[in-house]
Every structure is written in structure tokens, then in C-alpha cells.
Assembly symmetry: D2
Homo-oligomer: 137 residues x 4
């Protein structure tokens, strides 16, 4: 069983659109916060620290696949259950299940990398750092 | 060949994160605008009008799958090439290619529905309206 | 002394700009959430309920004045101290102090109205509802 | 007469809230884009360039005061008329008028600084660079 961390998110009036439901890009805002929160809870330092120690400036997205099952609206409180579903050589799959109590609202699988930055400003994928993998498994 | 509409988006300073690149949820904001823009350019009325005429309040997302190929930053101008890749009975696949000149930045396939609203506030999928399908093909 | 309600807000990576600090429009997102939270905590029903009971669809902004004293960044937790500084006939002044522990980060005074909607879709200001004023003082 | 630059902004579905009108923090997103656009149109290089040449990393906000006159909704196109209303020793007042054709939608006066960054990461205000002032007047 992989480690799972829960991130709690209130839904606000301004997160909703004229149809009265969460405007979907906001789910990705929250999922990105849950991603970072997962690493923090597992004991990984903030990215400005790993930038100094490991050359890792963050975990940008390469691929994402999401399903939306039920709508949510303001006043709701959501739980985002976050884990790493798979470790690969130079990437990993981060998995999210967004629930409101017993309701499944959204599911998402992302492929992310541990990014370094070249002198010219472009980014590249490091091999998954062994210490981070152990901390998060 | 399906109809393709191009939506142009400037990238602004505030769209970028501390790594200096577009924060990915912003791509979904732009894609949602490109989706609506596609229908407008094909001659479909705004959703507040279709709500009265057809009971269609909008085209919420059921599923989305995106790949991120290159980063973008402020000062860039992006082109979002939008089309409908497939019409199904009660849903459709909307396809996006985000480019910066010759660079492929992002690709996305979404499954959306034409939504109606029940008396209790919940939403449901209409069969794809024939008139909209013709206008967009 | 007027009632004060504290709203707690985590600052996330994506809330920050390429300078590494909170991009200022995000402060207004959080202040708007703190505004609604204030009314909820004072026992005022959500706006979709007051729309039915009082014809009040929300509290749109007429005027806002904010000062930014210190920067904030991701990893910070902010406290937003919210109160109503003044009740007027058809508007009120909502006041916010945003702190990070002992640091004053931002201050804001807003003029808001209790809005109704006319048949043509335009909005207007109700006299401040007596029950809401009592609940919030 | 001071130089005025117009920035054009489409209002999108997702910029609007459940009341069907622009959620006000989005005006500040657009105004910030108009601020940067003003400098670019006046010939000032992007901030990542001025960071190298002048030590100026951007123009953070110190104070802002906005009035909201009319609502806007999706489908609208807004014009943001931007100028510098006053140059001070270590700050300047940037002024915005947001219109939709003949309708005045919003007005805003901001105090901004030309920021440098100290070794400890904190920021400070430079005296207004003479070259920038000339380019923008």
C-alpha cells in the first residue's frame, strides 16, 4: 500500500461559474496544491530548498488524465486523497481522488517529473531521487 | 476534415509560477475559453440563449486528457487550434492543439456533454442537438 | 466593538508569480472568500437561500482600497481578520487585516451592497436588511 | 498629457461567478496585465531583462483604490486605458479606466514601485529610473 495524504479544500463562491458549479480549471489548482502538500507531509523540503540541495526546482506536469463524476458548489468541503501510484525511472504517476464525504467528485492520474534547469533556462527530468522515493512510499 | 477554429492567447506575468513558466491550471482556463469560442465561431448562440431555446446550459467536462510538450512563459502568444474530433450519442470529443508558432506546447482531448438541469438542480446530458452538430462539423 | 471573524488561508506555489511572491489579485480572491465566510459565521444563510428569502443575490463590490505592507510566499499561512467597520443606508464597509503571525501583510476596506436583480438582469442595492445587520454587529 | 495605452480583454464564461457577472478579482488580473503591457508598449524591456540591466525585478503594488461602476459579463470586450498619473521619487501612480464601448465599468489608481531584491530575498524600492520615466511620459 502506498502512502496516502488527504488535503482539504473549501469551495468558494468565486470558484463557481454562471452555472453555479465549480469551474473545472479550479480542480487543477487544488490538485496542484495537493501534490505539493503530499511531498511536504512526506518530509520532502520545499522546492526552493531542493533546488539548492538536489537541483530539483519542482515537479512539472507531463501528462494528466481526469474524470469528473459529480459537480461541486460553494459551501462544499472536498477531500483530495493523494498518493504516488507508480515510480518510473525519470517520472512518476501521482494519483488523486476528490471526494465530498461519500461522493466521488473527480479522479485524476498525472505523470510528473523532478525537474532541473539548464543554463539556457530550459528544464529537464532528473532520475527520481532515491531519498524522495523512499520518503513517499 | 472537421472545422478548426484558432483562439489566440497572450501569456501574462501572473500566469506564470515561481519557476517562471505557465502554471498548468491556466492552460485549462484558456482551453475552456477556446471551447466556447469554437461554438461561437460556428454560429452557436451563447449558453444563456441556448438555455432558453434548447435547455442547454453549457458543455461541462466529463473527462480530459492532456500532454504537455514544451513550457511557455510571459510574453509568448499561443494559438489554440480547436475542433470536434468525434460526435457520440450524448457526448463529444473536443480536441485542442496549443502552439507557439512552430512549437507544439500542449495537446488535449476532452469529453464534454450538452448539459440540461433538472428541477432539483442536478445536471444531465442531452442527446447532441442536431443543429449544433451540423453547425460545428 | 464590531464582530470579527478570522479566515485562515494557506499560500500555495501556484498563488505566487515569477518574483516568488503572492501575485496580488490572489489577495482579492481570498478576501472575497473571507467576506462570505464572515456572513456565514454570523449566521447569515448562503446567497442562494437569501435570494429566495430576501431577494439578496450577493454582496458585490462598489469600491475597494487596499494597502500592501509585506510580501507573502508559498508555505505561509495567513489570517484574514474580517469585520464590518460601518453600516450605511444602502451599503456597508467591510474591513480586512491580513496577517502572518505578528506580521501585517495587507489591509483592505471595501464598500459593498446587498444586491437584488431586476427583470432585465441588471442589479441594484437594497437597503441593508435589518436582520443581517443585527446578526453581524 | 500623459501617454495612454489601451489593452483589450475578452470576458470569458469562467471569469464570471454564479451571479453571472465578472468575479471582481479578475479585474485585478487584467489590470496587472495592462500595467505590464503599458511598459512594453512604451519600449521598456521585460522584467527578466531589467533585472539584469537595472536590478528592477518588477513593479509590485503598494496601494490600490478601485471603483466599480457597471457589471460586465462573458461575451463582453473591455478596453483598459492605462497611463501613469503621477511620478514620485520612489513610486508612481498608475491609472486605469476600464470601458465597454461608451460604458465606464471600473476605475483604478495604483501606487507601484520599481522593486529590487536584497541578498536575503526581501524587496525594496529603487528611485524611479530616469530612462523608464522618459519612455513612459
Amino acid at each position: 500500500m502506498s502512502k496516502t495524504v488527504i488535503y482539504t479544500q473549501r469551495v468558494e463562491f468565486g470558484d463557481c461559474d454562471p452555472a453555479g458549479i465549480v469551474w473545472f480549471p479550479n480542480f487543477f489548482r487544488w490538485i496542484d496544491a495537493a501534490s505539493r502538500h503530499f511531498f511536504i507531509e512526506c518530509g520532502v523540503p520545499p522546492w526552493h530548498q531542493t533546488a539548492k540541495d538536489l537541483g530539483v526546482i519542482g515537479t512539472p506536469l507531463v501528462d494528466t488524465h481526469a474524470k469528473f463524476m459529480k459537480t461541486a458548489s460553494y459551501g462544499d468541503t472536498l477531500q483530495i486523497h493523494t498518493s504516488v501510484a507508480e515510480w518510473r525511472g525519470k517520472s512518476f504517476v501521482q494519483r488523486y481522488r476528490v471526494t465530498r464525504g461519500d461522493d466521488a467528485i473527480m479522479e485524476c492520474d498525472e505523470v510528473r517529473i523532478f525537474a532541473g534547469r539548464r543554463e539556457d533556462g530550459s528544464i529537464f527530468a532528473w532520475p527520481v531521487p532515491e531519498g524522495i522515493r523512499e520518503a513517499c512510499s
